[in-house]
């Protein structure tokens, strides 16, 4: 009996922490990601994850899919001698997620709760993300470098903010369902990814829930990755032999059969 009371108390405290205005979110915010296992096989070209769940009826959902943090060394380009663009230096971005995709509601942007402005306070969006990483060496132009970094990642499809991509069901008992389709690009690396939903109301986080998805290589890609990293020499030798074999084969089928000299 006492044990049950303690558990209830712990849950209530946790719920209050996630939900500053308990009246709004009487029931718990939930999130589901399907599939929650993505396999990278030979024909993999990206995946779609259907994220759905329940939020308080008066709130808007923001869905954030984040990969693990990494340190990324990059070259910086600049003008040499005033006219020529080339690699001029090296910088390392610390604590950058491998993937950062945000699906938000259109009204969110219109109401001023946009993930690009207000998002910084709420812990979501690119402005907030930029504040999380460090750049070494400190060249004093973090803003410029961060903007370029986001451009690079956005061009690869690994970072994205999609407004107007969350859809809602009708309200019932103070709650409503939401759903959104998150596109996971083919460049995604194997590992665990966090799917988080924030329920926003009046510029406040009214509730949150998280789920995890697992991305792993299987079949031929898994075999080749492992062979390449564990037996690089053998892998190289096999790659060369296959290439020579292909050259010989093409000559056999399409080459002139008779030596001219």
């Amino acid at each position: 009996m006492f044990k049950r009371l303690v558990v209830r108390l712990v849950f209530s405290v946790a719920a209050m922490a996630l939900c500053p205005r308990p009246a709004i979110c009487a029931a718990r915010v939930t999130v589901n990601a399907r599939p929650n296992e993505i396999t990278i096989g030979g024909l993999f070209s990206g995946a779609h994850v259907a994220v759905s769940g329940m939020i308080p009826a008066a709130s808007e959902a923001v869905v954030i899919v984040t990969g693990g943090l990494q340190d990324l060394p990059l070259k910086t380009k600049g003008r040499a001698f005033g006219i020529l663009w080339m690699n001029l230096g090296n910088v390392t971005f610390h604590h950058v997620p491998t993937l950062y995709i945000v699906n938000a509601t259109k009204t969110l942007e219109q109401s001023g709760d946009s993930v690009s402005g207000e998002g910084q306070r709420l812990g979501v969006g690119f402005d907030w993300l930029k504040a999380q990483w460090e750049i070494t060496p400190n060249l004093g132009d973090k803003d410029v470098l961060s903007r370029e970094f986001l451009k690079l990642k956005e061009s690869e499809g690994l970072y994205a903010v999609h407004d107007g991509t969350v859809h809602y069901g009708s309200a019932e008992n103070g709650m409503r369902s939401f759903e959104t389709d998150v596109h996971i690009p083919a460049r995604v690396s194997p590992g665990e990814y966090e799917v988080k939903v924030l329920a926003l109301n009046g510029g406040q986080v009214a509730g949150a829930a998280t789920e995890h998805i697992e991305v792993e290589e299987v079949g031929v890609p898994a075999f080749l990755s492992s062979l390449s990293s564990k037996h690089g020499g053998l892998y190289g030798l096999l790659a060369v032999l296959v290439a020579i074999g292909a050259g010989l084969l093409m000559d056999f089928f399409f080459g002139e059969q008779q030596g001219a000299h």
Partner: protein, 306 residues
């Protein structure tokens, strides 16, 4: 559309598109005796392959294309094995020296600037020289009589060198020092610039070794074959950057292309080949120059690659 996942590049590609790229570069390789890395690597980067993987996997596919191309040219009697092997020995020594030299240059700073400017200037010089020379030859249509004035001092020097030997396939007599030293020179440049060197090797064979153009193409391919075998194994062993799936799709296109390229090459005259190659060299030069002059879309780039 059929996509395949490339485990080392960590991305998926359209099979038809990559096969097509392979075929086009294979045709160029078969015609001109160049590996085509100058063209293939940037194209692969453009379709989303990381630069280091693009360069290493391209070396792997050149092994296939140059096997196919060498065999096709061998059947036409266009491969001077003796010359090829000597150039190769020089190239390996030069390449090793070049790798050390690049380390020193990088420590001194501004290495990238020096490399890119040298590359553009060299391509420009070689391209213009080759273009003008072959154009004159085509106009006069008496290719054999055109070299008398310029050649004299250079030819005298070459004739004075020790260890003269006959290169029957090329129909020339030279000191074995010539291919060794020039192969070494190309090896140094290729290592510094991070390219296969076909672009520099072909003009060196034509103008400094005075080999006939058709034999140049076949012999260059023979030499590129071995250089790229070495590069592929080294890249796979040290950097794990060879994407086998990518290389295989490219291979299927390029080995086929190389066969057709070799046949096309046979139909063209030496000077026609030279003027086409010179145009290609100049196009690459202009492209590199524009890359240097136009502001890039993003001011950050991944490390590695060319």
């Amino acid at each position: 559309m059929l996509h395949l996942y490339l485990p080392i590049a960590g991305n998926s590609v359209n099979v038809i598109l990559v096969f097509g790229l392979g075929a086009i570069v294979g045709i160029l390789s078969g015609i001109f005796g160049v590996g085509g890395g100058f063209l293939m690597t940037p194209l692969l980067i453009m379709i989303g392959i990381p630069p280091t993987v693009a360069a290493a996997s391209d070396s792997n596919q050149i092994v296939g294309a140059s096997t196919s191309g060498t065999l096709a040219h061998y059947k036409m009697g266009n491969v001077d094995f003796k010359m090829g092997i000597l150039l190769l020995i020089g190239g390996v020594i030069g390449g090793t020296l070049g790798v050390q030299l690049i380390k020193i240059l990088r420590q001194a700073g501004n290495a990238d600037f020096l490399i890119q400017i040298t590359y553009v200037l060299m391509l420009g010089f070689v391209g213009v020289y080759m273009f003008v020379e072959s154009l004159q030859a085509l106009r006069k249509k008496e290719a054999t009589h055109r070299v008398s004035k310029k050649e004299s001092s250079y030819a005298k020097l070459v004739k004075r060198l020790p260890w003269q030997t006959n290169f029957e396939k090329s129909g020339i007599r030279l000191s074995i020092l010539m291919p060794l030293v020039l192969g070494g020179f190309v090896g140094v440049l290729a290592a510094i610039m991070g390219v296969g060197g076909g672009f520099i090797m072909v003009p060196v064979m034509v103008y400094l070794l005075r080999m006939p153009m058709h034999v140049v193409v076949g012999t260059s391919l023979f030499q590129i074959l071995f250089t790229c075998i070495d590069v592929t194994i080294m890249q796979a062993y040290t950097n794990h950057t060879v994407d086998f799936i990518l290389a295989v799709i490219l291979l299927l296109g390029s080995t086929l292309g190389a066969q057709f390229g070799a046949k096309l090459s046979k139909k063209l005259k030496g000077d026609q080949l030279k003027i086409l190659l010179a145009s290609l060299v100049l196009v690459v030069m202009v492209k590199m120059l524009l890359d240097l002059l136009l502001p890039p879309n993003v001011l950050l780039a991944y490390t590695g690659g060319h």
